[in-house]
């Protein structure tokens, strides 16, 4: 059993350290700037949410009206936080799994700055009234080629790392990462060309826009989150993936089903009917690979319950996987043609997207960040209380948003909108309590992430704990943790000396 030892050899440790060191600047840049954009997006989201039940809030400054703040909020969330957190995890995880240090950290860092500049110009453009009005594509149209070019420079190194990988084995996370790397430019380029460049019929452009949003969730954010979850779970628990064959099958099922999803959102409009029905069916069927991956990861984590409870990385990851299962079920519910009649023009779609972006993707990214940052900064997280606050307020916030936007508010608002012998204002008023509750939920998430942002910034400034103890979420100091015996560096060294 010697080849099955969990203990790392010195060569392993050295290689890991080399990889971590080689990527520390771009990875930390993506995480910290992503967390900052997340905070910006949350503040904008709260303003938009308050505006929707209290339009006089913040006066009549055109910069801060709902029609500008809301798209700025979503785009900052998607491109500022989501994509950047994804990039950070992508390049680090791909380098680690391919066992190759990066030699192009500087290039990636420059591209990361360009990406950030693009997002900043885009968000500013939206706020100053130059948004395109196409959801998730509201940045002024000159921004998207810049973002695509920056992406190409960042992601190409992940592909190259994969090409020059050591060893033949391709781990399941690499499949997912490679999928995301290839699918993102396809989705982003296609959608932007057809919506912003070519003279496409506006109705079809709307349908393509809805396909784009669904594809971004299922073909970019989801694969990165699943890749990270498979890796973190196997790594922290030191267990084999519960059923490896099934995980590979899940990847291919996602690859086959997910590209069809999205156009069900415009059901009832005069676009070819098969697009609507195939879109609805694909959004529902994508639950199969998501459930498959989710159960596989949870079964793996369940073999080591203590690690799940104590490791912040694994705890966030498991929460994100539960978010993925919830997303699969919500997709099954919301995409059914009978439900679409109610939820098509209600807040349900927003709730679904928030669950995908925060409850699923972001939670997995937080898990990865709690794992990666101590390695690249060589410092441990400062405070488990900050981590706990981040975890619980995130969970409460996102569950409330899903409950109020998608499940309760979405259907009630949809039903009120369908009662066309009532005035429209009564349909708007019927959603009032849910909108107020959504504001409160966003405030909880902002509270969580302000602390996360501060914590991460301190880590970035290399002010983390200099110790060999991992920061674990437990109340007592047990002598033996999930990662082996603990002790102060000096104690160990003194003992060995």
């Amino acid at each position: 059993m010697s080849e099955l030892s969990h203990d790392s050899t010195a060569e392993d440790t050295q290689l890991r350290s080399e990889i971590d060191r080689s990527l520390r600047h771009p990875v930390m840049f993506f995480f910290t700037s992503g967390a900052t954009w997340l905070a910006v997006s949350l503040i904008l989201g709260i303003v938009a949410s308050i505006k929707s039940h209290n339009p006089g809030f913040l006066g009549e400054c055109s910069l801060l009206q709902y029609g500008r703040v809301f798209p700025a909020h979503l785009n900052a969330l998607v491109y500022g936080w989501g994509a950047q957190a994804g990039f950070g995890v992508l390049i680090w995880l791909m380098a680690r799994l391919s066992r190759q240090p990066s030699r192009n950290a500087g290039t990636i860092l420059v591209a990361g700055h360009i990406w950030n500049l693009g997002v900043a110009i885009g968000v500013g453009g939206i706020l100053f009234g130059h948004g395109t009005g196409k959801q998730w594509m509201e940045f002024p149209t000159f921004v998207w080629p810049v973002l695509l070019a920056a992406y190409a420079v960042i992601a190409i190194w992940a592909v190259i790392a994969f090409r020059v990988r050591r060893g033949d084995h391709v781990y399941i996370s690499q499949w997912y990462l490679l999928g995301a790397v290839i699918w993102f430019p396809w989705i982003y380029l296609t959608a932007n060309l057809y919506v912003n460049v070519f003279d496409v019929h506006p109705l079809m452009a709307t349908a393509i826009n809805r396909w784009f949003r669904q594809a971004m969730i299922l073909l970019f954010f989801a694969p990165i989150a699943i890749a990270s979850a498979y890796y973190i779970t196997a790594k922290v628990t030191a267990r084999a993936i519960y059923n490896y064959t099934y995980s590979v099958g899940g990847f291919w099922a996602l690859a086959i089903i997910a590209p069809w999803a999205g156009m069900h959102a415009v059901m009832g409009s005069p676009i070819p009917v098969f697009l609507q029905y195939v879109g609805a069916a694909a959004t529902m069927l994508v639950a199969v690979p998501l459930i498959g991956a989710g159960v596989n990861i949870l079964k793996t984590a369940a073999q080591s319950g203590e690690a799940t409870a104590h490791s912040p990385s694994l705890r966030f990851t498991v929460a994100g996987v539960f978010g993925m299962l919830l997303l699969a079920l919500l997709g099954l519910l919301l995409a059914h043609p009978k439900a679409i009649a109610y939820t098509q023009f209600s807040t349900a779609v927003y709730g679904y997207e928030v669950l995908a972006l925060y409850g699923f993707f972001s939670m997995c990214m937080f898990g990865a960040i709690y794992f990666i940052v101590p390695r690249v900064t060589r410092r441990e997280w400062l405070s488990r209380r900050l981590i706990r606050t981040h975890f619980w307020f995130s969970i409460y916030g996102v569950l409330l948003i899903v409950l109020f936007c998608s499940v309760l508010g979405g259907f009630q608002q949809g039903a009120a909108q369908r009662a066309y012998d009532e005035s429209w204002s009564s349909a708007v008023l019927s959603g009032f309590p849910f909108v107020v509750a959504t504001t409160l939920a966003w405030c909880a998430i902002l509270y969580a992430n302000v602390f996360f942002c501060i914590h991460l910034t301190l880590m970035w400034l290399r002010l983390g704990r200099r110790s060999s103890h991992p920061t674990l979420l437990r109340h007592d100091h047990a002598s033996v943790g999930p990662h082996g015996p603990e002790g102060d560096i000096e104690e160990i060294e003194n003992a060995k000396a």
Partner: protein
């Protein structure tokens, strides 16, 4: 792990692995090839998802190009008191539906089947009803006194004015109803515009019941206005022709 000096090489001159790469050092080695049996519940759950999703996909609508938009998705008919947005109806049916309600106040004298009684003339098979449309409109709006002869029989009953609170829509409705019920069959639809013509004429004339002679003298003509084929789809509430597709 016996000897840290040989087992844990420094990464570079200034860095001690034991201290600075502690996180990387304590990492577990990964095993990937688990092959535990799949839980029956996962298979069952996935099968249910496939069944529901397949039902949507193969429910018979995917390549249904004849119905460009699925029929079942069109909203059901609005309730009668709905404020518009209801399914269009053929014009004659929509007008008669409005007229039928108005006729409730006529049926005490003219009888539900329009046969009339001793003092009040029948509406069924009456030249006054189906003839030039200005005459029945003026009778309704102003009332009628002095005897009138219908189908060779004289009737002496006085008809009170019905014009108060009767708008063009209701007038058009009641006219179309009496002209196309009880076995009557008019060739033209009385539109709202035509009814407005009658209301304008009644206003110009001033109040007071009309007589048969006056009608024949002054108002022996059809109402003016653009004609509308009887089966044009119109909104049952507003009576506007439904231009856009439902």
């Amino acid at each position: 792990m016996s000897d840290p000096v040989t087992n844990k090489p420094d990464l570079d001159d200034s860095t001690n692995v034991n201290v600075d790469a502690a996180a990387a050092e304590r990492e577990n080695h990964m095993f990937t090839e688990g092959a535990e049996p799949l839980s029956l519940w996962v298979i069952l759950g996935s099968a249910i998802v496939v069944l529901i999703g397949g039902g949507v996909l193969f429910g018979g609508h995917v390549f249904d190009y004849k119905n460009f938009v699925k029929k079942g998705y069109v909203r059901e008919k609005a309730p009668d008191d709905g404020a518009g947005g209801a399914k269009p109806k053929p014009a004659i049916a929509a007008y008669k539906a409005i007229g039928k309600k108005v006729y409730d106040s006529c049926s005490t004298c003219h009888q539900p089947a329009g046969e009339g009684n001793m003092s009040f003339p029948p509406l069924a098979d009456s030249e006054w009803v189906t003839g030039p449309s200005m005459r029945p409109a003026m009778i309704i709006l102003n009332g009628m006194h002095k005897p009138v002869t219908v189908n060779g029989k004289q009737y002496d009953g006085v008809m009170p004015t019905m014009g108060d609170g009767m708008d063009a829509k209701k007038l058009a409705g009641i006219l179309n109803f009496i002209r196309n019920s009880f076995g009557n069959k008019a060739d033209k639809l009385i539109t709202v515009e035509m009814a407005e013509d009658a209301i304008a004429a009644a206003k110009e004339r001033g109040s007071g019941p009309v007589s048969a002679d006056e009608l024949n003298e002054k108002y022996n003509r059809d109402l003016k206005g653009a004609e509308l084929p009887m089966d044009t789809p119109v909104d049952p509430k507003t009576l506007e022709p439904a231009t856009a597709a439902e």
